[in-house]
Symmetry: C2
Subunit: 238 residues, 2 copies
DNA sequence: CGCTTAATTGAACATACTCAAAATTTGTGG
DNA sequence: CCACAAATTTTGAGTATGTTCAATTAAGCG
């Protein structure tokens, strides 16, 4: 599991989709970043970095989805965030000068590059716009963490699960039909995302299914009534 | 409330205590930052900035303590962080390019400077060390938010309250006796910090008092048994 | 096809919340 | 300085909600 193997990701601009960080770099800078990258395949379920490890680089996801989790004292796992192609991983610990405080695990087979942190820092000083983008990303991370924190503290289980489904929708989007989530998680992962016990997540999902808000077929989840789902996710107690 | 009035804070190096952000600036740079600062007094209870406001500068606390809170849908308030002299306020929204997502309120009479964001940005590009320090601060904020989030989700009320008291201890320290917290909060504020109802906070505090871990005399809180307090704060269910 | 893991359902239980009332503290004006 | 009003703090009781534990069913995989 998690064996590194030769790949063929030519340069970092292969990851410059949408408006991710890489897009803020010139072609030359992308090439410079590419120079020292290490490519690796992580099989589904394998760990990319682990809580307590010391970071010595940054990860950039070329292909695949990743979950980042924190282990709590009581043995529960909290999904802190999910990441997909084009996103950078492990920057928080690096910038904070700390060990990793969360564990990153491949949700499916992934192709991930490890970037040189020195090269990354060089680009940050050379490219103020790039620097600003990173600052912005971190500042948004703070907000999201604070939002989820306060949200989960106040909301009932159904609202939390609804919110978790909406997160999946916004993050990964849907299939061509516009309603089938294009990510497949275990019930446990959904529970860990919503911050509830798996049984509670299952019961909440069943409820949403019975209400016609979601369509469940095993791990395939369809959003049938977006409006109601959003409504539910906002309410204090559903 | 919150009236601005003339003060006499000569330059920003008056705020360079300990190892806060200002310390990373040269004397000349501190002077440059001072040039455009607006001084203001905020009376106890007055609002420094409000959720939804658009930031047009940064605040630097010269004197006094501040609470930063988020209002939840159910009308509860969550204390997101507390700040004291020498700390910068309102940078998250600025760097994220967003409106404020929390409200800052003076816990006691405060003297606060408003700094020019343009000047601040200039210093960030001019001084890479300063830039790094800000990045580090944001990255640490992310961790703290994520830690508290997951902690509060898993811990029982007593552990949360114990954690809240420890936060106060670590942030503001004690009087000369080494045990009396040098910050005075309402029970509601302690509850909002711990993320529990005020009645629950009171009951937990009473328990800690009865156990001889804390000494309560109205708003004056003494830590009598640090070891037990730390123990309790870690346990899943106290 | 058997075995292991994941998903589901059920029931008892614990915990913190809500609502309500009493007690205490704080602030203010006479 | 006292008396009164307002706000805060404290205590109590009932309730809702999610957790835990256990058992069953379904699904994935060699």
């Amino acid at each position: 599991m998690g064996k590194k193997q030769a790949l063929n990701i030519p340069t970092c601009n292969a990851c410059a989709n949408g408006n991710n960080l890489i897009c803020h770099l010139s072609h030359g800078q992308q090439a410079a970043l590419s120079e020292f990258k290490l490519e690796a395949v992580f099989r589904k379920g394998s760990v990319i970095f682990r809580e307590g490890d010391r970071p010595n680089g940054l990860f950039c996801i070329h292909k695949g989805k990743v979950k980042v989790t924190k282990l709590t004292n009581s043995g529960r796992e909290q999904v802190v965030r999910l990441s997909k192609e084009g996103e950078i991983l492990g920057y928080r610990a690096l910038f904070a000068g700390e060990e990793y405080t969360a564990t990153a695990t491949a949700l499916e087979d992934c192709e991930i590059c490890q970037l040189s942190k020195e090269r990354f820092y060089e680009l940050m000083t050379a490219n103020p716009e790039f620097n600003r983008a990173i600052l912005q990303m971190l500042a948004q991370d703070v907000r999201r963490a604070e939002d989820t924190w306060t949200d989960q503290n106040q909301k009932g289980a159904k609202a939390r699960v609804a919110e978790a489904i909406l997160y999946l929708y916004r993050k990964f989007g849907t299939e061509a039909d516009g309603r089938t989530l294009s990510v497949s998680l275990s019930r446990q992962d959904i529970a860990d995302l919503a911050g509830v016990a798996s049984e509670t997540a299952i019961r909440s999902l069943s409820f949403l299914d019975a209400e016609g808000i979601l369509g469940l077929e095993g791990k395939v989840i369809r959003i049938l009534n977006m409006h109601s789902l959003e409504q539910l996710s906002v309410e204090h107690n559903a």
